[in-house]
Subunit: 268 residues, 2 copies
């Protein structure tokens, strides 16, 4: 089973972004991927104040085009995240959408942890100014394994991933728009730790390069195996990297190193 | 405030091990350390079947010598771990002992997660054959910050560290005897992840080299800051590495990146 992490340099031009996503999905499909993960906010990465007006229903125009791609290539697509219209006026969710090869939405996850952070040399991030947090942990069982959904900043919260694995996750999806500054110090370490401590595959699909306004993303999209090995890493531009997921190997690692059965849930 | 991670190559000769520990504590004190962390099973790292007979009361002969060192140098010592006599016949605890500069025991932590693991090219580890797991999470408040205690394999269980930090930990102690094979793949990643996701200092003091019987440890003792930077790393032999702990820096990192306040405890 081949999977792809798609790395993008999304801007504030939604049509252009969606066309880029479509053509990178085509590349992933040509290379044999049966699952492609797109990055966070792949269809719009622009100024914060434009976010509510760029939000969509799910399904809506962007997700319908991803459904068409899933059907065309008979593949699973995790539409990393898009802004989803929330009930509160002026508010949105940051939502990851999991589409199967029949073009059906099989899961949606609304980002639980919002990025309200001061990054050196940049204006403060305040995701919660426009985004409403989700409050549901989401896994999805498929014929190639059980997938746990998350988005970007979630990565800093190991308890989320412990719970995803408690619920059966074997493959973890982390679409992201990780900043350059924090990415240099934290991105690979946290992704590999999530893989190792959960004995799971991790597919981390990132934004890369400059985005409006004054935002710089780290890239380094990667696919990591349950031993923590980086199987694939994206170069520093838009690209689709492909690697193999092997649940027999995952089971072997979990048998030899049965830390998941050693958790002391009553104590923490 | 300077702290030391002491790296050892303990064998099955207890007197020799304790003397090594004493002289490495002397080195750490000469370099200005006010806290020294010793590795796991620093006073005896020999065949599993000898473990019950090498266990001690706490305090007992080994810990009394560490108390004397603490008084001599007016320093804190975390006596990484020793085997502590358990009530059940033939059974022991794997216990970390925290001693203050007055020579008093201010905390003891019994390892919660036991290493029952198959490591490539070695006979299976079955720590639970002789060791009884603890069931208590332990922090200790001192005048230089709040310390959270753990031991080696605990490192693979992020929920323990989340709870330590919930209880106030700023500095995390991880004495270890991490195997070479798993250390190459996992040691640094997991230590740095614990530091980053908990915005805490981590002092990881390891065994290094060959030990009876047929056991090889990874070394690479390190001190890591709350941003995940490796401040100090031990060379591949017995040594004491020293670095600075700065709670003002820790507070700055926790203010700019307030992920500890973004945890969604009701959801996991």
């Amino acid at each position: 089973m081949l999977v792809a992490a798609i790395q993008m340099n999304s801007q504030d031009d939604k049509e252009k972004n969606v066309r880029s996503a479509e053509s990178l999905i085509d590349v992933a499909a040509q290379r044999g991927a049966k699952l492609a993960v797109l990055p966070e906010m792949f269809n719009f990465l622009g100024p914060g104040e434009q976010r509510p007006s760029e939000a969509e229903q799910i399904p809506g125009p962007t997700i319908e085009r991803m459904m068409a791609k899933a059907i065309q290539h008979r593949m699973f697509i995790i539409a990393g995240s898009i802004l989803e219209t929330a009930p509160e006026p002026g508010k949105v969710y940051n939502t990851s959408v999991f589409i199967n090869p029949e073009g059906n939405i099989i899961a949606r996850y609304r980002k639980i942890h919002l990025f309200d952070v001061v990054v050196e040399g940049q204006p403060p991030y305040q995701e919660s100014a426009t985004v409403v947090p989700g409050d549901e942990i989401v896994i999805s069982e498929t014929d190639f394994g059980t997938v746990g959904l998350s988005v970007c900043y979630d990565m800093r919260f190991p308890e989320l991933y412990c719970e995803l694995v408690r619920r059966g996750a074997q493959i973890i999806s982390i679409p992201a728009a990780f900043t350059l500054h924090t990415g240099l110090a934290h991105w690979e370490v946290l992704i590999r730790a999530r893989a190792i401590e959960n004995l799971s595959y991790v597919i981390a699909a990132a934004q890369v390069g400059s985005h409006p306004v004054n935002r710089e993303c780290y890239g380094n999209s990667m696919i990591v195996d349950p031993w923590g090995t980086v199987l694939a890493r994206a170069p520093n531009f838009e690209s689709a990297v492909v690697s193999e997921i092997d649940l027999q190997y995952l089971n072997k690692v979990r048998t030899n190193l049965p830390s998941l059965t050693h958790r002391r849930d009553g104590i923490y």
